[in-house]
Amino acid sequence: MAAPLSASGAGTGIADPWDDLRAIAGGEHLRAAGPVDGVAGVQPQMVFEPSSETELAAALRYGNAAGLGVVPRGGGTKSCWGNPPVRADLILSTVRLNRVIEHAWADLTVSVEAGCTIQNLQNMLAEHGQRIAVDPLWPERSTVGGILSTNDSGSLRIRYGALRDLIIGITIALPDGTLASSGGKVVKNVAGYDLPKLATGALGTLGVITRANFRLHPMPHNIRSFTFAACDLGDANRVMLAVQDSSLTPAGLQVRLTAGAVPAVDVRFEGTVAGLAAQEMVLRKIVAPAAETVTSDAVWQAREGLWSSAEAAAIAKFSVLPASVTETCGRIGHLADSLGVQWRAVVQGTGLGWLRLEASRAAAIHEVLHTLRPELERVGGSLAVLHRPAAMPAIDAWGSAGDAFPLMLSVKQQFDPRGTLNPGRFIGGI
């Protein structure tokens, strides 16, 4: 691995950067940061809430020139994700950039500012019977820019793809103050490089997303969810694979696992009444002998449940092949049990899972994660640590990018050569 980017920065001979920033910001929306503004345990100095993307770009440019560490922030729901920043001086909040710019409902597209919350966006789209087909964590607080930067996806992904498959255009502010757009407002477009995908999941380390365009989907006319109690882990994985190997078209397929309990498999269909009835019949044949249990739509928020009262818990996202879910969860269970760690997991049919680990001895949690990651990486998977208890020994949040890392470092250096944006929070010290 190459060395992390330079950690030098604020406090290197700059008299008072904030006076100059006040000139850009007009003072009113620039304020001192408080304890709630902490970023993965690091306390920034100031928070700026620009009212326009040009104001945001100007402030970013200023911060870059002044050698500040700048942390972009939307709803602040995932500020603990990633490694602690090596510098965090200024938070650039998109909270006031919250307009839905254009909902071209007849074209099934929307253009929206980065600070708009997902719930507000969905409410606007619903007026025309449409939605952006994602179900991220905490939609009432998380923002467009935030879910893009963290590439957060939920149970709808198995049917509608990830954010990378839904975003069609983006505008980002670069550290040098450039406001650059790419992609566009049409679903199909291969003109130039696909920067919307590059910015998605980049944790704000290449630029600050100021607006995005998405393709939309119609709201489903009917939805039905089913929950089955599988006999064991192997049976749960059998059901999940059989559903994917059938003619069914699930719009949600996950298994919920808790140490000591039987796995629960959730399946959701969307469509016409006739279509749902037919799919239900096929489903029942496939899942037998697993028994149906009472189903509530709340099962699709199970991911959020992992985060409740999570101060003393670690939460990780893992990615494995769909056919390896049983083996992976079996291994997690074995490891956790042997170290006295409580665990719960929600794993999607796509092979993406979210894991919660809890123990009175934080070092035991660390040991589970530390042991698990290389095992998953060896078979082509990955493990990202999204949240860690304060008492747990430090662990890298991301793991290895393999031989693609030098390229990632080059990309970072092209976009943010001074390491201004979220320094140190991303993979390999980026």
């Binding site: 071209a104 007849a106 074209d107 099934l108 019977g129 793809g161 990378r164 498959d165 980002i172 670069l174 450039t178 650059a180 757009s181 790419s182 566009g184 407002k185 049409v186 679903v187 199909k188 477009n189 291969v190 003109a191 130039g192 490089y193 696909d194 920067l195 995908k197 590059l198 998605t200 999941g201 119609p218 709201m219 489903p220 003619s247 078209t249 469509g271 016409t272 006739a274 279509g275 009835a277 037919a278 799919q279 996202k317 990615s319 092949l321 769909p322 092979g351 990955s382 990202a384 991301w398 793991g399 990018a401 031989d403 390229l407 990632m408 080059s410 990309v411 092209q414 976009f415 991303f426």
Partner: protein, 506 residues
């Protein structure tokens, strides 16, 4: 006598003699290439090189200095290392079916054909993954997995001859991307030879590989970021039922209204295709698809669970009737569907039956702008005295106007080119794009400045600088002007032409 201006690795212009192109790949370089690929993997004779002078877009032609036909990743790496050391630009080539000149050789460069790297390396059905070499033909992937009930979704019209490597370069689409997405949706991972000859693995078999989404930016980069030598594809389970409806309308506007109705009803068909009368006539003349002779033909394909498809197809029929459709046919068997699609897939080539020459254009508009843009295309065509046949992927607003002309009539070729460009301007004005699936390549790079502002293009080129600072991998394509990648002070590296004494800096 100085006759050409070349651009060197550091961006400084060089002057070179015309004879330079013959000399640049001098004996020792050829010898090295030959040592890597063997005699049969190196083409240097003028007659054979001619085969590679253009791709599917034939109005640009450049004869490469040599063509290399590697059989392995190691051979590709070896070739690219030599190119990098000698600053010889290279262009990767698949089947050469591209329609924007993406595989057009560059002056004083070599072509690296991936045609011999054509093995399907791994089929993993439980995980719906297939790993292929770049020379594998698109349709072969489906051919391999079809017996197990799977298919590979991206289906460009050229799918029986185009390669996966080419699809990756162009982010190929096809008629079914309305529902299934593009090549980029189905590429999970890549093994890539970077322009300095090093190897990198982008993405992987699992989702959300840590770090930047480099497969996302590599797919569709038109060969400018390196050469893919392995591609991990996602395959899709074949739907239980597929039905294709053919509806004849009086005009494309009426057909367009039906498309709006289908979308408004909350449906996501697998494909919605539209053809105007001229395109219908051409298709009929070529493949006798038995299309009704009408003003606007709509082809709507639904797929999914049988009960779902049947319920929705009834709604589609009703919407079409309300919008004035005359004849409506629903193809239900595989054979019936094949006939219906035959005309559509053959449409580009079929135009050759009604016009000696034609330009295949590719633009995108927001779907609702269709009536306005169509009538404007009609008006411009009439004004220029040039016929335009129209084939659309109507669901996603991707237009393929076919601009018909006769090269033998003086001035008509030029007028056709002007009209084809004007159509792209209409697309930009309507808030659309200059290309939906054919790529920018050589053909449309000047249009990029009309679609994007300078800072937008500069920002995209930062990616290029990260991958290919020396501009060796398919240089001169996609962007109207290259961006100088960091005028960082460094060791002075003379251009090979300079070394050879046939060029000097000024």
């Amino acid at each position: 006598m100085w006759t050409e201006v070349l651009t060197s690795c550091s961006g400084y212009p060089l002057r070179a003699k015309r004879r330079a192109s013959r000399i640049i790949v001098d004996a020792h370089i050829l010898q090295e290439f030959r040592a890597i690929t063997g005699d049969r993997g190196l083409i240097t004779s003028q007659e054979e090189l001619k085969t590679y002078e253009c791709d599917g877009l034939t109005n640009f032609r450049v004869v490469p200095l040599a063509v290399l036909l590697p059989r392995s990743t190691e051979q590709v790496q070896g070739i690219v290392r030599v190119c990098h050391r000698e600053r010889v630009p290279f262009v990767a080539r698949g089947s050469g079916t591209g329609l924007s000149g993406g595989a057009l050789p560059v002056k004083d460069g070599v072509v690296i054909s991936l045609a011999r790297m054509n093995r399907i390396l791994e089929v993993d059905l439980p995980n719906a993954r297939v790993t292929v070499e770049p020379g594998v033909i698109n349709l072969e992937v489906t051919g391999r997995v079809a017996p197990h009930g799977f298919f590979y979704a991206p289906d460009p019209s050229s799918q029986s001859i185009c390669s996966i490597g080419g699809n990756v370069a162009e982010n190929a689409g096809g008629a079914h991307c309305l529902k299934y997405g593009f090549t980029t949706t189905h590429v999970l991972g890549l093994e890539v030879v970077l322009p300095d000859g090093s190897l990198a693995h982008l993405g992987g078999r699992t989702l959300d590989a840590p770090g930047y989404d480099l497969p996302g930016v590599f797919v569709g980069s038109e060969g400018t970021l390196g050469i893919a030598t392995k591609v991990i594809l996602r395959i899709v389970k074949r739907p239980e039922c597929i039905q294709t409806l053919l509806a004849a309308f009086g005009s494309t506007s009426d057909a367009g209204a039906a498309v709006s109705g289908i979308i408004a009803a909350g449906m996501l068909p697998a494909a919605i295709e539209m053809m105007d009368n001229l395109a219908i006539q051409a298709a009929e003349a070529a493949v006798h698809a038995n299309y009704p002779n009408c003003g606007g033909l709509l082809l709507v394909e639904l797929d999914g669970p049988a009960a779902e498809v049947e319920a929705l197809m009834r709604q589609v029929e009703e919407i079409c009737r309300k919008c004035g459709a005359g004849q409506i046919r629903v193809a239900q068997t595989e054979a019936e569907r094949a006939v219906v699609w035959k005309g559509r897939k053959a449409a580009f080539a079929a135009v050759g039956r009604i016009s000696p020459n034609y330009i295949v254009q590719d633009g995108v508009i927001p779907r609702t702008a269709l009536p306005r843009v169509m009538s404007e295309i009609g008006r411009l065509g009439a004004e220029a005295g040039i016929r335009v046949a129209n084939v659309f992927h109507a669901g996603d607003g991707n237009l393929h106007p076919l601009v018909l002309y006769d090269r033998r009539i003086e001035g008509q070729e030029h007028a056709a080119e002007v009209l084809a460009n004007r159509i792209l301007e209409l697309c930009i004005e309507a808030g659309g794009s200059i290309t939906g699936e054919h790529g920018v390549g050589e053909e449309k790079k000047m249009m990029m400045s009309k679609m994007y502002a300078e800072p937008d293009l500069e920002t995209m080129q930062r990616v290029r600088c990260a991958f290919d600072p020396e501009h060796l991998s398919n240089p001169t394509k996609v962007f109207p002007r290259p961006r100088l990648c960091g005028e960082m002070p460094g060791e002075y590296r003379p251009h090979p032409l300079e070394v050879a004494g046939i060029a000097e800096r000024f």
